[in-house]
Symmetry: C2
Subunit: 543 residues, 2 copies
């Protein structure tokens, strides 16, 4: 492959002058002049990984290889936002495993040329799913934030580890300052609050259960669950399954995670919580922990935190708020009231990688009481965290975590916050919620649609059945239920085959499969919502 061109720096200006408004901030001073990249003709068919840095004279091949990759990536990015491209080019597992047009997934003993590696990169993107496409509505995490992406590219280039200040000085401080801002948003009094970024909401929720147990029964850390009475945890029947997973993993047992009834909107009924606490106590169990969900996965429901907090105070229970999905609303003056009472929680899960558009993975566990996170998790491994370092080792975070090494998840989020400001996140949240409102208003009385629950959506989740014409006059009953149950999977399969859009569906309780629409991508417009509805109708009309 041949590429011709040049790119050279032809100005040299002073980097030090970083005063506001001054131009040319990025150019370099004389002591630290960097050559800008220059693209040259490169034939990658005879180059291999071993020819790249640190190989002798590997610099040029390295730069050219990375620029080729960037060319592939920037083209992918452009297409991601281009509505004339597909969301995906679907193939079944066996098709991809058999090798599509030479795209061979098998690994071998011998190296491939860099040319083939670049082809592999292109094919990997080609057969993947464009999660940043404005018509991808399938998951709570969607979108492709360019600043966040830049943050990830830098993070992987820095390739370091969060466990000590020694090897991640800047990132450790960014994490601390960002957690402080998040804690302010939660509303805990100044001086309170601690936290850490974890690999995802399930792990953050697991932290909350561990810390609650440590608070009330610290001896479990050393002696195990036999040192505690038979503990029970409470969470909504609509809550994320990670609370149950945490119960199973941490030795409580999933049966001791008691599910709370919800109202028709999927919100916990506080009276049911109190009744189940009393029932558990009567049976000899000891209630420990209540999870209130702020933004449930399917309905987007916000449990009434204040009423739950009253009960937790009355019975001296740990209150956790799982705001993995809804925590982002704290950034919006218009919508943060939905988490009213969150400042009374003992711990909060909040995933910026969901509603705030931060690239995966970015999840925080916030804990009101200072020191308890370290108390719960520290093992004081002297061989890893030496107290006799020359800097203030209280900045080392490793012993707070259940992990040892920890990926740098903070930088992309910090950089996005810098680039957007708090108001940028607020606009993002408000816009996505407006779009859900638009969808709700569009379909609530439209022929062929039935809402799963009445009333305006609390979050961006809009849950609905599409009723094909053939079912519209059918009487309620088992036959109609069975037929309706198959509608969403059929439409979804058609969507994936045609690649035009993607939206999730699921059953819930005794409700047959329905669509769950969510918006978290800033690229979405009303026209994309209209497109989704048109597609559903186009595909569903003959079912």
């Amino acid at each position: 492959m041949k590429i011709c061109g040049f790119l050279q720096k032809n100005n040299s200006l002073d980097e030090k002058g970083r005063l506001a408004g001054q131009k040319n901030l990025l150019s370099c001073d004389n002591s630290d002049r960097d050559a800008r990249f220059r693209l040259t003709e490169t034939d990658f068919s005879n180059l291999f990984a071993r020819d790249l840095l640190p190989a002798k004279n590997g610099e040029e091949a390295t730069i050219q290889f990375l620029l080729e990759l960037v060319d592939i990536l920037t083209n992918y990015i452009k297409k991601t936002f281009d509505r004339s491209t597909k969301v995906l080019d679907f193939h079944h597992p066996h098709q991809l495993l058999e090798g599509m047009e030479g795209f061979n997934l098998e690994l071998s003993d011998q190296p491939e040329s860099l040319e083939q590696i670049l082809v592999d990169c292109r094919d990997t993107l080609k057969y993947g799913v464009r999660t940043g496409h404005p018509r991808f509505f399938n998951q709570l995490s969607s979108g492709l934030d360019i600043i966040g992406l830049a943050g990830e590219w830098l993070t992987s280039t820095a390739n370091t580890n969060m466990f000590t200040y020694e090897i991640a000085p800047v990132f450790v401080l960014m994490e601390q300052l960002t957690l402080k801002k998040m804690i302010e948003m939660v509303g805990w009094p100044s001086g309170e609050g601690d936290g850490i970024f974890s690999p995802g909401g399930a792990i953050s929720n697991m932290y909350s259960v561990m810390i609650a147990r440590y608070k009330y029964y610290p001896e479990v850390k050393t002696k195990g669950m036999s040192a505690a009475p038979r503990l029970v945890l409470f969470t909504s029947e609509h809550s994320h399954y990670s609370i149950k997973k945490a119960g199973a993993a941490l030795g409580f047992g999933s049966e001791n995670v008691i599910l709370l009834s919800t109202d028709e909107r999927g919100r916990v009924i506080p009276a049911d919580l109190e009744a189940k606490i009393l029932e558990a106590k009567q049976k000899g169990y000891v209630p420990l922990f209540v999870n209130a969900t702020a933004g449930s996965t399917v309905y987007g429901a916000f449990d009434p935190i204040n009423e739950i907090a009253d009960i937790c105070e009355k019975y001296n229970l740990w209150l956790h708020v799982d705001g993995a999905w809804g925590g982002g609303l704290l950034m919006s003056r218009k919508h943060r009231h939905k988490l009213s009472g969150v400042e009374r929680a003992n711990s909060v899960t909040w995933n910026p990688h969901k509603m705030m558009g931060v690239p995966l993975q970015c999840s925080a566990i916030l804990v009101r009481e200072k020191g308890i996170l370290a108390g719960c998790n520290s093992m004081c491994a002297g061989y890893l965290f030496q107290p006799d370092k020359q800097y203030d080792v209280t900045y080392d975070t490793g012993d707070k975590a259940i992990q040892c090494g920890r990926h740098v998840d903070i930088f992309k989020f910090w950089l996005m916050w810098k680039a957007k400001g708090t108001i940028g996140f607020e606009q993002h949240i408000d816009k996505c919620l407006d779009l859900s409102q638009y969808l709700y208003n569009k379909i609530k009385n439209r022929e062929g649609y039935q809402m799963v629950f009445d009333g305006e959506p609390q979050h961006t989740n809009v849950c609905f059945w599409y009723i094909p014409p053939s079912l519209r006059s059918m009487p309620e009953g088992e036959e109609r239920r069975e037929k309706l149950h198959k509608v969403a999977p059929k439409i979804k399969a058609m969507m994936m085959e045609s690649g035009t859009t993607m939206v999730g569906y699921q059953p819930q309780g005794n409700k047959v499969n329905f669509f769950r629409m969510v918006v978290s991508n800033l690229a979405v417009t009303q026209s994309d919502i209209d497109f989704l509805i048109d597609e559903i109708e186009r595909m569903g009309v003959d079912l």
Copy 2:
């Protein structure tokens, strides 16, 4: 800031022709022609995040912004491998928090210009640590693999999630095929073996304990630890603290993680394991799980797996091999004998992000028995993993994991394997071990050095004291111990202040602080080892 230049595609060839040896594989066919990037003059001081895609007409600003970033990153990469640059430019936390030359870490309500964002990116790298520098020896994970880096850039651009085939078809299959290769390397019989990538070795080890418990006491999943007798786990006193953390987290209690004595090289003494099993049984405890470390953190010791496996078979215990650090040696025909017996393990932790140079995070938990991983972790969340999809849902991995969302850690590793081949990893391993041998031979009889243990290193870990001239004639005793304890921290502090190199130190048991040298970076040469020794002597001569 002004940049002039152009880069344009000036050939157009057929992409479909991917036959071996054929040129121009990367160029595009007519149906899918991508414009190559073209750099233009861009003034970023009046551009903001909101001007980038998905903004209308945001494409040009987006591409230019990313290319500027790539310019910063490629310059950083070049310097990383340049021995005339420092490993780090050390500052204390308070200095960075006060703001270095305008580098302000605080977040604010209002957005910053893209020009400032690019400056922030440059500063973030400037005040960080070059973990890929050939003289960075501080951690088990080091190096900057260009293919791995390319893999991470692509991964973050694809920004998807491993939980279902639906949204990560290619990555899910890559994970499956790569795990299969790793399982072959472990040596389990064909048809056996399962696994998953986790956020790090500590979580992988936690998986192993959970799965062992599920195997012997499946009812703990639902009923909690009260459904099991008082279980104990065994691991070496030299093993990683994550086994103890898992014991604490999962409800066993850290005191029920029984530490095994080791020989002078840090290897478990099998007779001690058997004695402690019997002792525990006599006290009414039930032994469950034994961890054998393959490559300990400090000494790089390999526990004798076969002898431990014999005991595990005799007493019907789960055998886990923590090969987070040493697992990579399975790729080397010369060194894999150090893990002899690993094929008898029930589970294995193996972190490609350590010895194999894969960027963070990349850790696998491998489990011999098929199905048990899902059995242990599944919660059958129908609302997340719908059984009525149009593809084979056995490829969905989400319910196997303790996580829900899961970052794509596989692609960089798969791409490196493609680009290097198995033989490339073997060469990497062999070269690093040769360098450790070189260091060992250089210092074992050198004046002023004392080895922490006798004999050749098993892994790349070389542990030694540097004895400054002032201590060389001092008699053994408490005074000398106290003085020697301070030598490594003092030299380390000087190293960090001068920024020339970084190496770890720690105490271990009753041994005072000593240096632990490790090599996992392919960029390291004998001259870098020589440099380290020169630096230690230069800095330590007057202590």
